[in-house]
């Protein structure tokens, strides 16, 4: 066999088997073709036997040619083989019968309390607005809960906060608001200061749909040089946008708190009707959200801060009230009943 004849034989062989492999109809046909071409008595094996008679020079040409042909046929066979294997597997998988609409297996999963969900969101927003954490005792002396905050003894403003009194060495109360953190913090820290203080507060109010003797507030306090009502409005606007979205708008209404002057009630444009008037806002388009104001000069003085040099604002908001709004909860008692059917929703 000449080298030319060898080349021709290779080409013929390649063409013949490529055609046959392409046409193969099953895995076993592919296996038969593998034996017929690459097997011990296969066509390619036979052809390669002729190599031994070639000159060294010719072997250098014929050898790689034969190897390339072998590799090409192997690859074609493997590919076809894998095609049939995949097909067979898929046919098997397609026989699977399963109702995917049956329920998933329940997994133990815990839930954050709705009040925590709301409070976490609020502290997260305030945190991003630069408020630092602060806290104060829940059982408080009258000095920090009332006196330093410009709520004098024998004043109706003091009576307005139905107070729980407790036995102790000194006159103690359960704090009626988180504002005790203001007096506590300002005694120890000097301006600039910008704090938030979430926590529980207590009022001697019977439990009903809108009152609870225990509830939660978040106090905010910012004292520095040149802090004004405008800063209060700006920061609370930012806060409400965080809570209710970019369209949130607030308005100030004059009010009275002994520890702020001027004092305001802050309303937010009704998030349910965008201010058009609905059941939630009782047609007014606004919802009362929190109380705030410029820190009363007496409070600053009482805590050792010069009101001519520094000024500040403070706000206090009820977490329950905001949570009821955010989470569409109608009855404050829902928060303290801890019914799993409610807890699981958050």
């Amino acid at each position: 066999m000449t080298i030319t004849e060898f080349k021709t034989a290779c080409e013929t062989l390649q063409q013949e088997y490529q055609t046959k492999i392409s046409a193969a109809q099953s895995a076993s046909e592919v296996e038969d073709l593998r034996v017929a071409s690459l097997g011990r008595k296969g066509a390619l094996t036979d052809l390669l036997k002729s190599l031994k008679d070639f000159s060294i020079e010719d072997k250098k040409t014929a050898g790689p040619l034969g190897n390339a042909l072998k590799a090409a046929l192997t690859a074609a066979l493997d590919e076809k083989q894998s095609f049939f294997a995949t097909k067979e597997l898929n046919e098997e998988l397609n026989k699977t019968e399963i109702d995917l609409t049956l329920p998933g297996e329940p997994v133990a999963c815990g839930h954050r309390h709705p009040l925590s969900v709301a409070q976490d969101r609020m502290t997260e927003i305030l945190s991003q607005l630069g408020f630092e954490w602060a806290e104060g005792p829940w059982v408080e002396d009258e000095k920090h809960n009332f006196d330093l905050l410009n709520i004098p003894l024998h004043h109706p403003a003091r009576d307005a906060q139905d107070t729980f009194f407790v036995d102790g060495k000194m006159p103690l109360v359960l704090r009626t608001h988180t504002s005790n953190v203001q007096s506590r913090y300002m005694e120890k820290h000097k301006p600039p200061l910008r704090i938030m203080a979430p926590g529980r507060v207590f009022r001697n109010d019977s439990l009903d749909a809108t009152h609870s003797p225990v509830f939660h507030q978040i106090e905010g306090l910012y004292v520095d040089k040149n802090v004004s009502m405008a800063d209060l409005k700006s920061d609370l606007t930012a806060f409400m946008k965080g809570l209710f979205g970019d369209k949130a708008e607030i308005r100030f209404r004059p009010s009275f708190f002994p520890f702020t002057e001027p004092s305001v009630e802050v309303d937010v444009k009704c998030v349910f009707c965008q201010g058009k008037g609905c059941n939630v806002c009782k047609g007014s388009g606004w919802i009362e959200m929190l109380g705030a104001g410029v820190v009363h000069p007496n409070v600053l003085k009482n805590c050792g801060i010069d009101p001519e040099q520094f000024s500040g604002y403070a706000f206090g908001m009820g977490v329950e009230r905001l949570a009821m709004m955010m989470l569409n909860i109608k009855d404050i008692r829902t928060f303290y009943e801890n019914d799993l059917r409610i807890l699981k929703q958050f």
Binding site: P106, A108, L129, W138, P156, K169, S228, V264, S311
Partner: protein, 794 residues
């Protein structure tokens, strides 16, 4: 405070609708709780009787109704009300009638002309509910009567919520003054006839001038205690008072009008001809005119004659001196009492009146005399009689302080840009005196405004009258610093996150418990914080532990069929140490049923057992290195005596875990097989906690371990802890990791023995172990266990 619109108009010209007035008041910071409209605000509506009802040719729900207007006149209207019936007398609004702001025009309804309208009460403005159907009137009314005459003049009653700093708004005059300043309208004070007076009044002696800085009064002789006139009775009724007789009614009327409370004594009952303002003696008894008997203390300010006390000053008169039907001579008091003095007594006895509410907030000391004049005028006009000279004891006239400030200080407080002109305008309307000298402005408030003492108060006035919408919204500025959250709060949050990850639901409970519960949980009430004025029994103490509340949550959830519970709470607990409160954060949890909340096919849910509880607690606390668990030294009575462990931090107990005692469950009404619980205080953990500390990462083995199982037989009395303590002490050249995979006792084992199987995992950080090394380690372990706990290979 109730305000009648028509009464307000005595003082100021207003052409606002009730809605507009509410808006103005709200903008001023006066909250309007409700508005009630009374009377008839309509014209051209007459009584008519329905004589015929026919179907409307083009509608299945409208009717053609023919009415008799009296005098032989009839009219036909279209009506859709479901309740029309022949014979009814109804209000007919003729074409041209005015209903509120609407004037009725001729109308063609579905092709039929309607010559008017039969009205519902809503359409007449008599009610604000969507009443169904027409208003049916009394059948005895004469046809053709003007319906508006049946209801009186239109009026509105506003219920205002007045903040405690503004007692001057507790009267019609006060509200008029505020509106006058806003609308720049003059306030017309009533033309008060100042009666000169004839004859002597009573002598007045003030023994406590601090409690009573001013006392005015006069005698009016020869009065007749008649019934009050209709106009006065109507107004007092609107204020919510029951009119009694002219002498009493006049004092109340003047109070609601001018804001100053008055009191009238029957002169017959004032003994000795002298009024003495003094403090009570401790133990002195006094009967109020409502019949209540008080035992007074030295703080109570009294009005007295020479023999006895006649009134609890500023709060309520006594039973022994009030005016009666046959009273002919009276002494009228118009005084100013010190607010804290009144407040003390009000709080002490929980007595309150319209009068005390004004005095304890502060009345107008100058207004006392005006009120006396006004009352005298009404007494003489309505009851006849002759007024005496006036007694006026007012040793130190009151003046408000001067407020000196610069206009820019106002804008600085508010962050606004209100012009000087606007500020001047506002302040001059509010001031008793107001002068400007360049930037030096001086303001003195009138005596009825004791709340305007410094520039911050004036800033509020400026904002109120200029409008709070003047305050701009600018970008947030902040003085940033960084501090961590308080450790107690931060740890609570971390444990809460972990617990939620482990399948627990967070609870929040009211912080109160009863004495029984406290005792049942091993606390001595002496060391707990007691609420003096508890809301209810069972809410007397602040919780020293969170577990009772959580057990109540278990009970209520079981009642609602929530049988699989994993609940936790993290908040403060309270103790009292030597009379001082101690507040500590605690983390507490309970488990009941199985951890997965819902059922899945018939698969049995694995109920929580002690080891699941222990695993959960260990996982919860695995970030705190110094924590160990050990069988409880002293098991508290509410826990299972054998299933309770201490949670130890550096060997000191900070809490416990285990099974709740079945009797405790019974006490709480819990019908569950078992409830598992844990609780620990975080105080000690806080001490070593820092948000800046992180556990350094440990490198993991990269060479595969060699695994061996080891089964040993030991005495039943040998605990797992003893076994692994021996195992841990084995001297080894390789790393060992293990866990228990089987525990067996019973058949094929000798009596009193148990078999424990461990899966051992040997490894080396730098290479793969040779079999011989593994064998050697295994042998050493077997030797160690044999030596230490007499373990035999099984």
């Amino acid at each position: 405070m109730k305000i009648l619109y028509s009464w307000l108009k005595d003082f100021i010209d207003l052409d606002l609708t009730p809605e507009e007035l509410v808006k103005k008041l709200t903008d001023l910071g006066i909250e309007v709780a409700s508005v009630e409209t009374t009377g008839a605000d309509f014209e051209g509506v007459y009584v008519a009787q329905i004589i015929k009802i026919e179907d409307h040719p083009n509608s299945d729900h409208l009717h053609l109704v023919t009415l008799d207007l009296g005098g032989g006149k009839t009219q036909r209207v279209v009506c859709g009300a479901p309740n029309v019936a022949v014979g009814q007398k109804v209000p007919l609004a003729k074409v041209g009638a005015r209903l509120g702001k609407i004037v009725l025009k001729p109308a063609v309804i579905r092709g039929v002309e309607s010559e008017g309208m039969i009205c519902s009460s809503d359409e007449l403005g008599l009610t604000h509910t969507r009443a169904h159907g027409i208003l049916v009137l009394d059948e005895n009314l004469t046809l053709g009567t003007d319906v508006s005459t049946l209801y009186g003049k239109p009026d509105s009653l506003f219920e205002l919520e007045i903040t405690s700093n503004r007692p001057d708004l507790l009267s019609h005059l006060g509200v008029a003054r505020e509106l006058g300043a806003l609308l720049n309208k003059p306030v017309k004070f009533p033309e008060i006839k100042k009666i000169a007076g004839e004859g002597k009044s009573l002598q007045v002696e003030i023994l406590n001038p601090q409690g009573c800085p001013r006392y005015t009064g006069r005698v009016i002789r020869g009065v007749k205690n008649v019934e009050s006139p209709e106009w006065m009775k109507t107004r007092l009724a609107a204020m919510g008072l029951n009119p009694k007789n002219a002498l009493v009614d006049i004092t109340n009327y003047v109070m609601f009008e001018l804001g100053h409370p008055l009191h009238a004594f029957d002169l017959r009952l004032v003994e000795g001809g002298k009024i003495i303002v003094r403090n009570a003696q401790a133990g002195e008894k006094f009967t109020l005119l409502n019949g209540r008997e008080l035992e007074l203390n030295e703080n109570c300010l009294m009005i007295a004659d020479e023999k006895k006390a006649t009134a609890l000053a500023g709060i309520m008169g006594g039973q022994n001196s009030g005016v009666q039907d046959d009273t002919t001579d009276i002494f009228v008091e118009s005084a100013y009492f010190n607010p804290p003095t009144i407040n003390k007594t009000v709080k002490k006895f929980a007595v309150s009146s319209d009068s005390s509410q004004r005095f304890e907030r502060g009345t107008d000391i100058e207004g006392a005399l005006t009120a006396l004049h006004r009352a005298s005028e009404l007494f003489v006009e309505l009851c006849g009689g002759v007024a005496s000279e006036i007694t006026d004891v007012y040793p130190t006239p009151y003046k408000n302080p001067q407020v000196v400030f610069a206009p820019q200080e106002i804008n600085k407080i508010l962050g606004t840009n209100i012009s000087d002109e606007r500020l001047k305008e506002i302040f001059s309307r509010l001031a008793l005196s107001f002068t400007t000298d360049g930037d030096k402005w001086t303001f003195v408030a009138p005596t009825h405004r004791r709340d305007l003492n410094h520039k911050w108060d004036l800033a509020e006035e400026a904002a109120r009258f200029a409008g709070y919408d003047q305050i701009p919204v600018s970008p947030t500025k902040a003085s940033l610093a960084f501090t961590d959250a308080p450790k107690g709060i931060e740890l609570g949050r971390r444990f809460a996150r972990r617990l939620i990850g482990l399948g627990f639901c967070e609870c929040k409970n009211i912080d109160f418990l009863g004495e029984k519960e406290i005792k049942a949980f091993g606390f001595d009430p002496k060391f707990c914080i007691k609420v003096k004025n508890a809301l209810a029994q069972g809410w007397d103490y602040l919780r020293p532990t969170l577990l009772p509340s959580l057990l109540k949550n278990v009970e209520s959830n079981l009642r609602f069929g929530n049988n699989n519970l994993a609940l936790f709470e993290t908040t403060k607990t309270f103790l009292s140490m030597k009379g001082f409160p101690v507040e500590n954060y605690a983390v507490s949890g309970v488990l009941c049923g199985s951890l997965a909340q819902e059922k899945f096919f018939a698969a049995a849910q694995k109920p929580v057992d002690f080891y699941l509880l222990k695993g959960l607690v260990q996982t919860l606390l695995n970030s705190v290195e110094a924590i160990t668990l050990a069988p409880a030294k002293n098991v508290p009575g509410y826990m299972h005596p054998k299933i309770c462990m201490d949670i130890l931090l550096n060997g000191k107990s900070i809490g416990l875990l285990g099974q709740i005692h079945p009797l405790t469950l019974k006490t709480f009404g819990i019908k569950a097989e078992a409830v598992w619980a844990f609780e620990f205080a975080t105080k000690m953990i806080e001490k070593s906690f820092s948000a800046q500390d992180f556990k350094p990462a440990q490198a993991v083995a990269i060479f595969p371990p060699s695994l061996r199982d080891l089964s040993v037989v030991v005495d039943k009395t040998v605990s797992y802890a003893q076994l692994v303590s021996a195992l841990d002490k084995t001297p080894l050249d390789v790393n060992l990791d293990y866990h228990v995979i089987d525990l067996y006792q019973g058949e094929h084992l000798p009596e009193g023995k148990k078999s424990v199987t461990f899966s051992l995992s040997f490894s080396h950080p730098e290479r793969t172990l040779k079999d011989s090394e593994t064998e050697d380690a295994f042998k050493r372990i077997v030797e160690q266990l044999r030596g230490q706990v007499k373990a035999e290979l099984r």
